[in-house]
């Protein structure tokens, strides 16, 4: 039985990947940080009681900023594959916490590569590094592919760029099977609540049911290439099953603006948004003329990434990978799930119990 170790298993991709690998018969190990709140919502359905025998889903306490914990876990597990998905993954937050972002995203990746080397697992353990389309930042050509020069625009992107290069360096210098998946935005119903797509679907559902008044967003003109996380984790696995380790761009090749995402999501629940005004004064009104979407400059980033569009031709040719879930299906699923959650909140409230707002 193959063993996989997933860092960032409590995140969106970690949860989907764990599910996929369990289905493929892997023994799946995950690393989670100790937190004062439960942070395992996304993998709760995979949890196995530690008292049952032959568990194939095992969580370890560890931290990307703690090299001894990483070395200990890797030594214990002796994984065939490591998927490094853990990161401080929020672009805007990285401007507030540049040092922590570098420590977990850049040094974190290096610590795992070093662990593989120190433990003599160079020939055994395959390594997947979650790289990102944010590397392209101020894009140098459109669409972006594996050969497009990078131009990072945030501390997050720069930290990820280090992780990208160090992965390439360790592959070439030590012959480790290590690959970068340069993934464009990928979303799902379990996307973090502070990411723009999830923020939109959550807010619209709550506005629809009268639990919230208005959705505040940053740059409505930002254009992204949005895919479904479930599709993308399939590729993460495929990348580690090849004869030779290589880097791949993973994207849908279709682009929408944040405003278009809002429109598509609103339509799903029977809302039509009437946009008026421009720039920071742009507002979205519902059929009754109530303002339900507005721009708040606090969500602008110091340096903005305006447009990202991926060209996944190489992945299609070499991995035979194409995304299965369309943009519309993705938005629809996210909207449906968030509407369910909002309905649950509404029901709970109606019966006199309190719910959490989970403000950002």
């Amino acid at each position: 039985m193959k063993k996989a170790l997933i860092t960032g298993i409590t995140g969106q991709d970690g949860a989907y990947l764990a599910e996929l690998l369990l289905k493929k018969g892997y023994e799946v190990h995950g690393i989670k940080r100790r937190a004062s709140l439960f942070n395992t919502d996304r993998i709760d359905h995979l949890y196995q009681d530690p008292h049952v025998s032959n568990r194939n889903f095992i969580l370890h306490y560890g931290d990307m900023t703690d090299s001894s914990s990483l070395i200990r876990i890797i030594q214990q597990v002796q994984p065939d594959e490591i998927y490094n998905l853990a990161a401080q993954s929020h672009v805007a937050v990285s401007f507030e916490e540049p040092e922590y972002t570098a420590n977990s995203d850049a040094l974190g990746a290096l610590r795992i590569l070093e662990a593989i080397r120190i433990l003599g697992l160079e020939k055994k353990t395959r390594f997947y590094q979650a790289s990102t389309s944010e590397l392209y930042g101020l894009v140098q050509e459109t669409p972006q592919k594996e050969t497009t020069p990078f131009y990072p625009r945030s501390p997050y992107a720069v930290a990820k760029l280090y992780a990208y290069w160090i992965t390439v360096n360790y592959r070439e210098a030590y012959g480790i099977y290590a690959c970068n998946g340069i993934l464009f935005n990928h979303e799902s119903p379990v996307r973090g609540e502070t990411f723009v797509t999830r923020k939109i679907t959550r807010a619209l559902a709550r506005i629809k049911l009268g639990l919230q008044d208005c959705l505040f967003l940053g740059n409505l003109d930002a254009k992204r290439d949005w895919g479904h996380a479930k599709d993308y984790v399939e590729m993460q696995w495929l990348m580690l099953q090849q004869d030779q380790p290589e880097d791949f761009v993973i994207a849908t090749g279709v682009q929408f603006s944040v405003r278009e995402f809002v429109d598509t999501a609103a339509q799903e629940i029977g809302l039509t948004i009437d946009w008026k005004g421009t720039g920071v004064d742009e507002k979205g009104y519902d059929a009754n003329g109530k303002c339900i979407v507005a721009v708040d400059t606090r969500y602008f980033r110091p340096t903005e990434v305006e447009t990202l569009l991926g060209d996944a031709t190489k992945a299609k040719q070499k991995l035979g990978w194409t995304p299965q879930i369309s943009f519309k299906e993705l938005v629809s699923e996210m909207m449906r799930e968030d509407l369910k959650a909002a309905e649950r909140d509404e029901l709970v409230k109606k019966h006199g119990y309190s719910t959490y707002n989970y403000h950002e």
Binding site: S67, F95, P98, E99, A102, N103, A106, L107, L110, R111, E114, P149, F150, P152, R153, S154, P155, V158, A159, L161, Y162, W165, I166, N169, E172, A173, Y174, P302, T303
Partner: protein, 340 residues
């Protein structure tokens, strides 16, 4: 009186820069680790003329407090783990100091002295196996060792701090710059040392290399790949470029190099012939000294610095090599005198 803070003041560049700034009438502060300052270092002769603030680039509090103490008009961030070859065995430390150290400094500047002008030491190593020769400010990076990857990290962060917060941060992409102040494990110094030994008839040298053996053993100097080519300039010319970069109205990045390429073989030839010796009798190529991945051909296109800074190197390759060999001969003679 203008005030300047230099990180890495005990290094080659730090000491040349401190001399330059003192000459220009600056009050000079240096950030140094105690263990670097309290031993013989390149800036020891400046003791009393520069004010040393003790601290470490891996501790943000040290950097912030140095900046608050010195209240500098200019900061020169030269501190780093400066050995690309060694960065393979010290990769985490290299990123902690060269990458995160720079970010801690930029954060401290942003919060405590946003009007301060910052020079950041980037490196031609960032170009790595560049497919474009020569390299300018526009050439994409392709780092091939952990040192270079950490330098790319810091360089890109400098740019983000400049563009996001309007800080004055100028990065100098410096090609190799050498001098008699380089530690002995640097390639150019090894060659100068080898030539000096040959000139003085020293068969087994008193100084040892990174493998713990005499640098010159049984009359032979062991080097790696002799075909590698570098753009080598003289360090004091380069620190002048650093200062020039901070005297402009707007911060910008500059490639600083001579624009001339020399192979390691050329270097050996120049060094040994400066003392009338034949390098082929003394130099051997040892496969153990070849790096896991060599950088490609790095050659500077310094036209932007020529044009906008009016900068040009003043000391030629031959003069530099001669200075270095002479300095090593003097040092070795003193060693012999002292041991007798």
């Amino acid at each position: 009186m203008k005030k300047a803070l230099i990180t890495g003041i005990t290094g080659q560049d730090g000491s040349f820069l401190a001399e330059l700034l003192l000459e220009k009438g600056y009050q000079v502060f240096g950030l140094a680790r105690k263990e670097s300052w309290y031993r013989q270092n390149n800036a020891s002769h400046l003791s009393g003329r520069v004010e040393i603030l003790f601290g470490d680039m891996s501790e943000g509090v040290d950097i912030a407090s140095a900046i608050q103490d010195a209240k500098p008009d200019e900061i020169y961030n030269l501190a780093s783990q400066s050995r690309p070859g060694e960065s393979w065995s010290r990769a985490p430390e290299t990123l902690l100091v060269n990458g995160l150290g720079a970010v801690r400094l930029f954060e401290a500047v942003r919060h405590h002295c946003p009007a301060c002008r910052v020079y950041h030491a980037s490196s031609s190593e960032m170009f790595g196996q560049a497919s474009i020769v020569p390299q300018s400010e526009e050439t994409p990076f392709n780092p091939v060792n952990p040192y270079a990857a950490a330098k790319v990290y810091a360089h890109q962060m400098a740019k983000i701090y400049r563009e996001s917060y309007g800080l004055y941060i100028a990065s100098g992409i410096l090609f190799n710059h050498e001098s008699e102040r380089r530690p002995l494990h640097f390639l150019t110094q090894k060659v100068a040392y080898g030539a000096a030994c040959a000139a003085l008839g020293i068969i087994d040298s008193p100084d040892i290399n990174e493998m713990g053996r005499p640098i010159v053993q049984r009359g032979k100097l062991a080097l790696g790949n002799l075909d590698i080519a570098r753009d080598w300039g003289y360090a004091s010319d380069f620190v002048y470029a650093m200062w020039l970069m901070l005297q402009r109205e707007r911060a910008d990045d500059f490639v600083i190099g001579t624009g001339k390429l020399h192979t390691l073989r050329d270097l050996c030839e120049t060094a040994y012939s400066s003392v009338d010796r034949d390098w082929r009798e003394s130099v051997v190529s040892d496969p153990a000294l070849v790096r896991p991945m060599e950088s490609g051909q790095t050659l500077a296109d310094p036209s932007k610095a020529n044009k906008l800074l009016g900068w040009e190197p003043t000391i030629s390759f031959d003069e530099m090599v001669k200075k270095m060999v002479t300095a090593q001969m003097l040092r070795l003679k003193n060693l012999v005198i002292n041991s007798n």
